[in-house]
Subunit: 557 residues, 2 copies
């Protein structure tokens, strides 16, 4: 619940105004919090084999929530289609094309996962509860409906049934977060099971295959090859399902923030900020960033495959695999830290104005980058304490320490770089040195200009209105600005590819946290598993979110 | 990191403006996050007896942090005293008298606690690390310096060394939060120790008195009576220390938000919103609220004493004690829910305008009320699931279920009531029905008025400027408004006293969560202890914070 200023600079004085916007938001937030906590209770209860909450309870709750959310979405689509006044404004910053494209991509992978899941549970249909087959089918319907809804409506600023729309959006958001929680917990249980079977059996003697374990129940074996393929397949597709839920959640949150928002006229709104255009996805670079990044990506994939093969082998090569893994990660993180830093240095010479306009999408991006980084920060600090305080200091301990310190540095400098990039004005909006001569122009409070009827709307800070005497200056400055902007594009592409490889490794199952015994021995298996299983999903989400933010930085540079 | 609108309604166009305020904030937030995570790692590591982090490590870290923070505060006080331009504006909403008064009160209790702690550790000086005696002494110095600092500077809007001030404030804030974490963990360990000794020995066989336990170490017994008194005393004073840290944190956060803020001229700033005056602490009521509330408080104290005596006794009366405890709580929560609801109903007939102005103090209050309520929400949902899914359904289960449901309802309706109250304009500022006639007056965007030089500053919505034709209306409306406002004052006082008794019980050690076997048997001791020990501190903080918010509601009604 952030304080809403009475009227931001972009709000126009036309149209009816809500008496108390925060009151309507409060109701929907309360609904979401309660639904989410109920789901959280059931999901976390279902994760513990000693607790008498079963996965069928969780599936039943999720299926109900998805059906209700799909019904609300259908109602919303019908209503806005019939009432042309329902959506008078559209937020140009919301739902950019790469976010919607990513949503569709991950949605398709989720559909494939649902097919696999249905196939897997159908293999032993006779001894399973019907809800286990109903759940993936409902999820498929929900994903299709929701992806269509977000594709067409992500930019809407709705102005009818405000409270109902807010509650509906928050309920759909809660549904997505509940699905995310369930998927993360299911994956963690699966990972813990495979790890305790392989290398950590001695550390986790009480974690035998229990009621939640898909292979459990001697009377229902998953013996056929098809069944095994389905099972393997759907666990490999989980990372996409997880990202789908989070992408949908961020888009729903921005829609919720935009309910009842009054924007200036459509053209004016586009003139503000920087509407991403499809053509700008391919832009001039020095090719150094993309080439280096691609090399990093390929080397990383090779390291990942070697690591997985060696760790899941007989156990003799674990040490060697860990050294390879950590060495690659340290090199990669060090390089990315230096590149982020040089990006920040370039901005020190950049004279584009900062964009101070209200932009819920950007606010959310910044909050998510800062918040999701906490996951990796926490794991790193626990590692550092374990290595520094712990007694046996060997190569792996030193590597782990270096890795943890570089993770902190990389997250910090990358966040600083991305957040500064997102706040730069559009290219070409460099302020002139001399103090402004026009009577209307005051840099002390440029946003007050919007409210002064005598001035032309948003003069001199917007790209399109750069005309007259400033045009000459823009031409003089062009080569230098161009060089800097090309550099920034290279940097963002390199960081983007680096984040992709750092996403792939943990998302597809690399867990050096457990293979490396330093922290496990220091904290004990259960405490360390709790820390990693709670924090790592945020770390993985951070990588994915950084990729989408860096894509935006690249397009805007 | 919430999005800062380019120029809020209260910011004046005078004075130099920071190029990018969020950049400076970003740095200080990063500093705070890193310091806090390091402290969190050490504190949580120290709480587990199997982990090789000792309480001396935690004490050393906290002592260092407190010394650094005290040094920075001294530097700040010297600098602002020497430079009269450092604080050009003061935020009238920040640091109201009851918050500062509460801070001093809790600060004094913390000093007493430090005396007890020093005395306790001095009792076996020879076999303790010196840091254990240094820590309470440093804390005493820190509390004195910080309380003076917050008393004189809580309203400051600093305008020199912006980044340094932000970092200093955030570091002091992190120090307070680290002290809070350490105190909460220490208290939880102590509670768990006493509970596992008394009634839960069978459930927690592995929780014997370990290195952290103050009585541990057979060579260092706390045998003398004075030593035992010191030990008992300092554990009873912990709740005040915890509240002190949280109060100081909220005030530091508001100061941080106010760094570099440009306000309109001082008188103008006061005209906005509703500056609390000291005289208004005693106001006319119907006496129903305070009398009922005091009765509730006294009955509650009696129930609490009976409960503590019966539970810590031989164990035969535990069932009876729990029935008494739950019955009182259910009655109390039910009454408070109804009263909050009636308060919200009264607001439906209230025609005062909503106050849309920017106010960091209020934003923080709302966020803390909503956030802190999550703790009790979570415990309640876990209780509900345990009772509904669990098999043995007896009286205690039913009482526990009713209690959990009422806790959710009470938090929800009380939050709605308090948040709506905090957003009401000052009394007498009822908007007129007819649309405004003045050419300068537009209700769609009243804040834009500040930037229009032709209009008088903030007309018609401010209390002091209510003159001319509106005065007559105010007089006509007076009797009705007066009746309603008196009612609201009664409601807020009743809720205030109810929250005090609901704060006292858990803060001073009532833990029906463990005496009542329903949840412990369902989740197992360690999981349920983790849930309660993480969530309950937030629930306790919620009560204290609700008390301070309700005091504000009472004064403003």
């Amino acid at each position: 619940m952030s304080e809403e200023p009475a009227a931001g600079p972009k709000e126009s004085p036309r149209g009816p105004r809500e008496v108390w916007k925060k009151g309507g938001r409060l109701l929907s937030v309360l609904l979401a919090v309660n639904v989410l906590l109920l789901a959280c209770t059931l999901v976390s209860g279902g994760a513990f084999n000693k607790v008498a909450v079963y996965d069928t309870d969780v599936f039943a709750l999720l299926t109900t929530m998805m059906l209700l959310a799909a019904l609300w979405i259908a109602f919303y689509l019908l209503r806005t289609a019939r009432c042309p006044d329902a959506v008078p404004y559209r937020d140009a910053h919301a739902g950019p094309i790469w976010l919607r494209g990513g949503l569709v991509l991950f949605g398709i992978c989720t559909l494939v996962m649902d097919v696999f899941k249905t196939g897997y549970y159908s293999s032993f249909f006779e001894c399973q509860s019907a809800i286990k087959i109903l759940h993936p089918l409902t999820q498929a319907v929900f994903v299709i409906v929701q992806t269509y809804f977000l594709w067409v409506s992500a930019k809407d600023c709705v102005h009818v049934h405000l409270d109902l729309t807010r509650c509906g959006l928050m309920f759909t958001l809660s549904t997505n977060l509940a699905i995310w929680m369930a998927a993360v917990v299911d994956e963690s249980v699966h990972q813990a099971g495979s790890h305790s079977n392989a290398s950590h059996a001695r550390l986790a003697p009480d974690r035998e295959c229990h009621a939640r374990c898909p292979l459990a129940g001697g009377d229902c074996p998953c013996a056929t090859t098809v069944c095994r393929i389905f099972e393997q397949g759907y666990f490999y597709l989980y990372p996409f399902n997880i990202e789908y839920s989070l992408f949908a959640s961020t888009m729903l949150y921005v829609m919720w923030k935009n309910v009842g928002r009054l924007l200036a006229s459509s053209t004016h709104g586009h003139g503000h900020g920087h509407p991403p255009s499809r053509a700008s996805l391919f832009r001039e670079t020095f090719f150094v960033g993309p080439v280096l990044g691609l090399m990093l990506l390929l080397v990383g994939l090779a390291v990942f495959v070697i690591y997985e093969v060696q760790v899941s082998g007989d156990g003799g090569h674990t040490q060697q695999a860990l050294v390879t893994y950590y060495s690659f990660n340290i090199a990669c993180l060090g390089l990315m830290t230096l590149v982020s830093l040089s990006g920040s240095v370039i901005y020190r010479f950049d004279r584009r104005a900062m964009d101070h306009h209200k932009n819920p999408t950007r606010t959310l991006d910044v909050a998510l980058l800062m918040g999701a980084a906490l996951g990796q920060y926490a794991i790193s600090y626990y590692s550092i304490v374990a290595v520094v305080v712990g007694v046996p200091r060997d190569t792996l301990g030193a590597l782990s320490l270096a890795h943890a310190l570089l993770v902190i540095a990389q997250h910090t400098f990358q966040n600083v770089f991305i957040i500064e990039s997102l706040h730069r004005g559009p290219p070409g909006a460099e302020p002139h040195d001399a103090p402004p001569k026009e009577p209307c122009l005051t840099f002390a409070n440029p946003d007050a200009l919007h409210t002064l009827p005598a001035c032309p709307p948003t003069p001199s800070l917007e790209g399109p209105s750069l005309e007259g005497p400033q045009e000459a200056m823009a031409i003089i400055l062009a080569p230098r600005a161009h060089w800097r902007r090309r550099c920034l594009r290279d940097i963002s592409l390199f960081l983007l590819l680096g984040n992709i490889i750092l996403w792939i490794m943990p998302a597809f199952g690399a867990r050096p946290h457990f293979s490396n015994k330093v922290e496990v021995d220091f904290y004990g298996y259960s405490l360390w598993a709790a820390i990693v299983n709670i924090c790592l999903p945020f770390g993985i989400f951070y990588r994915m979110h950084a990729v989408s933010s860096l894509l935006e930085v690249y397009v805007l540079a």
